[in-house]
Amino acid sequence: MAENIIDNSRGAEWREELRKKLPVKERTQQERVQMNELEPSYRARCREEVNQGLTEAQALVEASRCMDCPNPTCMQGCPVGINIPGFIKNIERGEFLEAAKVLKQTSALPAVCGRVCPQEKQCESKCTYVKMKKPAVAIGYLERFAADYERNSGKAEKPTPAKSNGVKVAVVGSGPAGLSFAGDMAKKGYQVTVFEALHEIGGVLKYGIPEFRLPNAIVDFEIDNLRALGVNFVKDCIVGKTITIAELEKEGFKGVFVASGAGLPRFMGVKGENLIGIMSSNEYLTRVNLMDASNPETDTPVLAGKKVAVIGGGNTAMDSVRTALRLGAERAMIIYRRGEDEMPARLEEVHHAKAEGVEFLTLHNPIEYIGDEKGRVVKMRVQKMELGEPDASGRRSPVAIEGAIEEFDVDEVIVSIGVSPNPIVPNSVDGLAVSKKGTIEVGENMQSNIPTIFAGGDIVRGGATVILAMGDGRKAAAEMDAYLNK
């Protein structure tokens, strides 16, 4: 299906003219655009969004770098199959609203993806420029530009509900996988109800990713679009607790997509880890993002540490450490047991964190926390490491350097070493096939061993990215639609 769209749109007269307008050589001689950012010392102390987006002039130039390749390999790198040249060429010809429309054909959350997708590992890594040893077209920046332009223009076409096919389907969880599934199914005419356990819709986009990287207003805009499409949202409802999947089926839901996300935070099990002031990144970020705890008007408290250590090297660790700065930390540190090259975080996040003043203690591993008489953490002991042979993940494994132990002061520690899948749905459905790790087992088509139950996102993957979850949602929508029409 994707191929057809490209063939049709690439062959359009305006696209041919656009290609002729600027010779490839001139296109490729232009430098890749730089994202406009807030100044590091300013942004590290406020919640404003760090990346400010591209100007129209910048977007026009960057879009003209794209060569509109006959075989757009970039699309192979996109989990939701966005028609990348299609939207970029619309930007190049100045039809920004049209560009946004192309994005919305396949993505329920373009303004979100334009901000949080690891494009450098996906679409941009497959860009023809990379083969030419040049920086890829800034596809992510352009995606964000088009989505933001539409939202800010006030001319965004409100989506209208598709003709109903009268078939009810349920979605468990309103994070990226659930929202993307809901959007696709609503467009196909299904009556979609999304059940959310928390009091806000959006899942990790709301409780996890901080305001300075993804403002809530943007998430809400995309959710409102889904509402306009006819998607029904029910908050404060835990499927598996408040209502069971069996009860949903009795109420006439013909299919259920489980996208209940990550659950239990992991801890290391080192001595003193339950001292006051030591918490998971889930707790810390939920307090600050979902509960708005740093706002004096809200009732939820949060510890605003002055010497904060964040354990881990992923995106969530970067979000946590940068949040600590914004809450007033004088010293904010990443403690990571491997080297910087092995960090799973996006390069952009690492660069941003460093520019804002975060210290990186790589090749350090916590071995003990020490508390005061009230049980508050005041010190931590770390073991220095060196890199040994590659392990199962292909990364060089950290090995302790005997006797190399350091101790320093901390008053808050955020443990960000991963999560296990949320156990509520897997535990509540008899006979549902679940892996040893607690993830729901699905086939290629995202279908579980119970034919009416599909699943995707972190409840299947264990811990992945927004865009992979969205890709799962899209795929599950197509497959469930096929299954229900059998």
């Binding site: 356990a197 908050k235 607790k241 408040t242 939920t286 509960m291 009732d299 509520i424």
Partner: protein, 272 residues
């Protein structure tokens, strides 16, 4: 949604609220709790469900004014709506015919003990209920407890009602008097600690229902973590009930104080 349909004062600081929540009323069992957010900008707090009425579609919560959120919650009136009530959460109480069961409750912990007393009785146990309070006016739910208990022992610190003494004095007297097979205790953490120390001495299996700090209540944040038998457990999904003899109550008491300063400041601000 979540409308308050009745409100009753058990004492100046303890309020019973009956709240419309039909799905929770239907799904809940003894031992379950809900997370409540009183209003926009409110925090999420766990409250154990005291009872429910499936036909009316209501659940009953017994709330003690101790902090900002409980004060805001108890100041709501009949007809007001609570912004968010979500549940039922946690694992239900393990109910079976153990033989003779002591159900020991202190303070506001008596309320969530009621459904357990009822379920234990219905499972065929001989139920001896021990209710403890500082003084006579703070003894709650006595009549309801008598309905499902073979015996109710009331203990007050000042001796103004029942016997004078602590909850542990009441329990010890029973253990010395007759063979007891199981003990369930709910109340302030410090009370449960001493109940646990006592029953451990007599090797009486004891379950404690813990109430810790929580944020989401669904296993996501880990704020409620405690140590049970040397392992980290989450009260919200692994509990709220645990083998009391394995619980590290000192650590739990310490962790309950995590936000004490902020709580005191917030209370001072609210009542200024």
């Amino acid at each position: 949604m979540n409308k308050i349909v009745s409100k009753e004062y058990f004492s100046a600081n303890v309020v019973k609220l009956e709240v419309e929540a039909p799905l929770i009323a239907k799904a809940r069992k003894a031992g379950h709790f809900v997370i409540v957010r009183v209003a926009e900008k409110g925090e999420r707090i766990p409250l154990t469900i005291a009872s429910s009425d499936v036909e009316k579609g209501t659940i009953t919560l017994v709330v003690q004014k101790i902090g900002v959120s409980s004060q805001k919650l108890t100041s709501l009136n009949v007809g007001d709506e609570i912004a968010d009530v979500v549940g039922p959460l946690g694992k239900a109480t393990h109910i079976e015919n153990f033989g003779t069961v002591i159900c020991a409750g202190g303070g506001v912990g008596v309320a969530p003990l009621l459904p357990i007393v009822e379920a234990m009785k219905k499972a065929g146990n001989k139920v001896i209920t021990v209710l403890a309070a500082r003084t006579k006016d703070l003894v709650i739910l006595e009549d309801q407890m008598r309905k499902y208990s073979d015996e109710v022992v009331i203990m007050t610190d000042d001796g103004s009602y029942g016997k004078q003494g602590r909850v542990t004095d009441g329990i010890e007297e029973i253990i010395k008097r007759e063979k007891v097979d199981m003990c369930v205790t709910i109340g302030p953490a410090i009370m449960m600690k001493f109940v646990s120390l006592l029953t451990k001495k007599y090797e009486l299996p004891t379950v404690a229902s813990l109430n810790t700090i929580m944020v989401d209540g669904t296993g996501m944040c880990g704020a409620c973590r405690i140590t049970v038998g040397g392992q980290t457990k989450f009260v919200c999904v692994d509990g709220p009930e645990f083998d009391a003899h394995q619980v590290d109550f000192d650590e739990m008491l310490m962790r309950l104080g995590a936000y004490r300063e902020q709580e005191q400041e917030a209370m001072a601000k609210l009542n200024a």
